[in-house]
Subunit: 354 residues, 2 copies
Amino acid sequence: MESFQNVSLTLSIDAMGGDFGPVVTIPASLDCLRKNPALKLILVGDEAVLAPMLTQVMIEFKDRLRIQHASQCVAMDESPSKALKNKKDSSMRVAINLVRDGEADACVSAGNTGALMATARFVLKMIPGIDRPAIISTLPSIYGHTHALDLGGNVDSSAEHLLQFAIMGSEVVKAVDGIENPSVGLLNIGQEDVKGNEQVKAAAKLLENSHLNYIGYVEGNYLNAGSHRVDLIVADGFVGNVALKSIEGAAKMIGASLKEAFNKNIFTRLAGLIAYPVLKSFKNRIDPRLYNGASFLGLRGLVIKSHGGADELAFATAIHLAEVEVQKNVIQNIGEQVENILKQRHGTWQITQE
Amino acid sequence: MESFQNVSLTLSIDAMGGDFGPVVTIPASLDCLRKNPALKLILVGDEAVLAPMLTQVMIEFKDRLRIQHASQCVAMDESPSKALKNKKDSSMRVAINLVRDGEADACVSAGNTGALMATARFVLKMIPGIDRPAIISTLPSIYGHTHALDLGGNVDSSAEHLLQFAIMGSEVVKAVDGIENPSVGLLNIGQEDVKGNEQVKAAAKLLENSHLNYIGYVEGNYLNAGSHRVDLIVADGFVGNVALKSIEGAAKMIGASLKEAFNKNIFTRLAGLIAYPVLKSFKNRIDPRLYNGASFLGLRGLVIKSHGGADELAFATAIHLAEVEVQKNVIQNIGEQVENILKQRHGTWQITQE
């Protein structure tokens, strides 16, 4: 990812969100402030908790850091509808309000995904033509990384929705990777034209006739290790989420087996000690913390979701993703692209009707 | 898996199928004959190719091994419809014919999946009440292994289809693992009742009202590493296939990263040499060859599909799976279960109508 340090930008941070709250969000925030002099942060949460943790740095970052008090917290297992109704002064809600009011360019939260999505949708509203936010994130691949969406925002997506995902996701890839014309693959169960369900076959036709760099169907293995590089993989949120969780399960099982093999006896433990630096560099390569941060796309403002269990490094990665997407105007670009597509479709429709 | 060596059984082997053909299928077949004295095999393929490879063992296995000549082969990339129309004397077709005619109890092939499925469906026909064969296989998990279906036979499955998969899959788990009442999970994107697409929510209701040991929704990570053991995971063939391929991709990427880390320089290679026995035992634990063999369920006969790239060990694993499923009468049990369910539904329907 590139950094742009010339233009100032402001992010609102849900400082109370996630499994660990301020213990993680504050050190990560300070780390990002140190790395990017153009960055300003508004830490949202209980002032009585946050202020004492920041006394020593308030001078260092005097014009670049402030606390916005919020009296409530959304619990990690709270129902989205209850959070929306009863937690109008939650750190999550206030952080999103700051984006709506133009005080922040984007919001980063490690809070409850369902509540964050419901609140973001309610407060920021959707771009006309988009129904629900789609979740995009990056996955490590043998070619570096792959972007994939939708990872769980939408189920029973229509072909039209899949096209919207491709349009929105392409803007994220352009911003994050600096690729002019990112390649787009459609997740399917085979690469032949006859394969797939009805929704995917119809989406393929829309993608073929779009301005996107559509390269055809790809199978699930392309998320991490296909036979060629694909910049963006598009799927229904149900399928995308199952794929993501399946990959997480596979990685967990493989990691557990590796650990077990090295823990078997005194000799294997000794071998593990010798191989430790190698195993560590291997682990760093696929460290999920370096891929933390999912963007909600289709809203009239940028919201980045961090993994709830994020540590300092992981949460800082999510903040950095927000910096890049703000600097590259991802939300504005998505809005323009979607508007263009809607105009074109409306045009075509009128011609057909005449 | 258990072995039953008391009752004799006969399998037909598509000896020409797979990426390597007889070079793999023959040694694997001989290995299985040696291990199970009750096993009889019919090797189907070009007699001119097979006979010279078997001259030395024909005496050893005189009553337990024979060649059935077939003049054609189905190519690995041949279209299923063309194979069905033009390859009526293929090794695959003749091997399946032997099951239809009662000469073999099951057929094992490493050939072209689409052609095998189309041919099996055409020759053997479906059990009444089932529309298309579902593909079931086992995946390694932190609890040992998990069975999952459908891995690609059916797309756009209805809730009723998902129930059928659960019924058929449970019979396979009972046979292969000797579990009386296997736990069944439905693949979804969350464990809460409100999550999921329409098809999955409807299937959950059918499963709750069935005689099966249905335990609720599970997420993709349960295929390899959930927070508790699940014996059987049920999904639409589109979703199941994407999950399977995603896991394959993740394993490939992780394996490649591990190899890369140990190949970086002379010191890491030395560490790799010392850790070699450990890395090998780790690799054996998740060796995909030990999980080779997918059963096509819903046909009036048993067909086991081996991975096309199977080596001798992997192909022998698929043959052994056929032995177990034949000895445990999986096909007959599935037929009875499906018939019972249809009767019950028909009964309920009549009551509702009165």
